[in-house]
């Protein structure tokens, strides 16, 4: 009789022990997988790829005249429409006349689009990858340029001149 009880106790203990082992295994497995995911996410966040402006969809297609006038009419309203928090501002395709072609201190091509009679234009900075696409461009030509807006146009009293809309990460858009 006593032996039987003992045997039963041992048996049930074994079951509990077995169950506990299983539970611990599940818990540690879950924790392990969670940790791997957390590290992967942290790693991704840290090495987050930069925004690929040219592959992203165009938010607005406007002429250089229209966007300059929108800014001159109400800069706050235009900023609310085009600028985004965290700097991922709207991607624009701007059509306008090429009035100057230059190079900045980072060897990036800068194309100023400005239609005659406008107070300001759109300054488009290309990238190391897209620079060569500007080679055939000529002053006076009408082109369409896609890029991300960084800041708007406006008259600055201290500079005593009109500032252009700034577009960066640019490339030409073939029509």
């Amino acid at each position: 009789m006593l032996v039987r009880i003992n045997l039963m106790t041992v048996c049930s203990f074994t079951i509990i022990k077995y169950n506990m082992k299983k539970t611990i295994k599940i818990i540690s497995l879950t924790l392990g997988v969670g940790l791997v995911i957390a590290i992967a996410v942290a790693y991704y966040m840290f090495n987050m790829p930069k925004r690929d402006v040219q592959s992203a969809k165009t938010d607005f297609s406007v002429s250089s005249t229209d966007i300059v006038n929108e800014y001159l009419a109400d800069a706050a309203l235009a900023n609310a429409k085009y600028l985004q928090e965290e700097g991922d501002s709207k991607i624009l395709a701007i059509t306008g006349t090429v009035v100057s072609i230059s190079e900045d201190l980072n060897n990036q091509k800068v194309i100023l689009l400005k239609n005659s009679g406008d107070k300001a234009g759109v300054s488009c900075t290309f990238t190391a990858e897209t620079n060569q696409n500007t080679e055939h461009l000529q002053i006076g030509q009408t082109v369409k340029v896609k890029g991300v807006i960084r800041s708007g146009a406006g008259f600055d009293e201290d500079l005593d001149l009109y500032e252009d809309v700034i577009l960066e990460k640019c490339d030409l858009v073939s029509k």
């Binding site: 987050m48 930069k50 900023n79 965290e86 700097g87 201190l105 960084r150 600055d156």
Partner: protein, 187 residues
Amino acid sequence: MKKVSVIAVVFAIVSLYAFKPLADKLVSKDGHISFFSHTALEDITANNYKVVSTLDKTTGDVVFSVPMQSFEFEKALMQKHFNSNKFLDTKKHPKAKFTGKIGNLGDIDFSKDGTYTATVTGNLDIKGETKVLNEKATISVEGEKVTLDSKMTIVLADYGITFSGGKPSTNIAKEVEVTVKSIYAKQ
């Protein structure tokens, strides 16, 4: 006789305006501003090539306008943090501005090639906070080309940029080193 003097006065006024030299104001749309933050944990650099600046050779007025979203970081996440409303809030404050004056204008000869040291005093406005800056700049004259170089330290807390906790508080220096370069051409 009266007529002659009227003509003379008109001529004098007209010529005053005509000779009020517009060309004295130099404009730069070709510049570079970078900042560098160093801590034991991390070095952070950002570059901006869209600074617009003017330099008036007769009054000594110097102005810089910096589009804040044009700062490019090595890491995309840093750039997001920089622009976010916790730090520079660039949607609300898209531009930073410096308006100042060269104190020792007499020491700089814009008509003679050379390198001159200028003392510049003025107001720097970042994120709606204005602080007085007193810095040295190097002005190089090379024919028609005028280049301004300067290096300064900016205390982030002066402009309401503070980090209370987390990674930014340990990885971003409290003072950052800012380097400015502008190449001016005649307007």
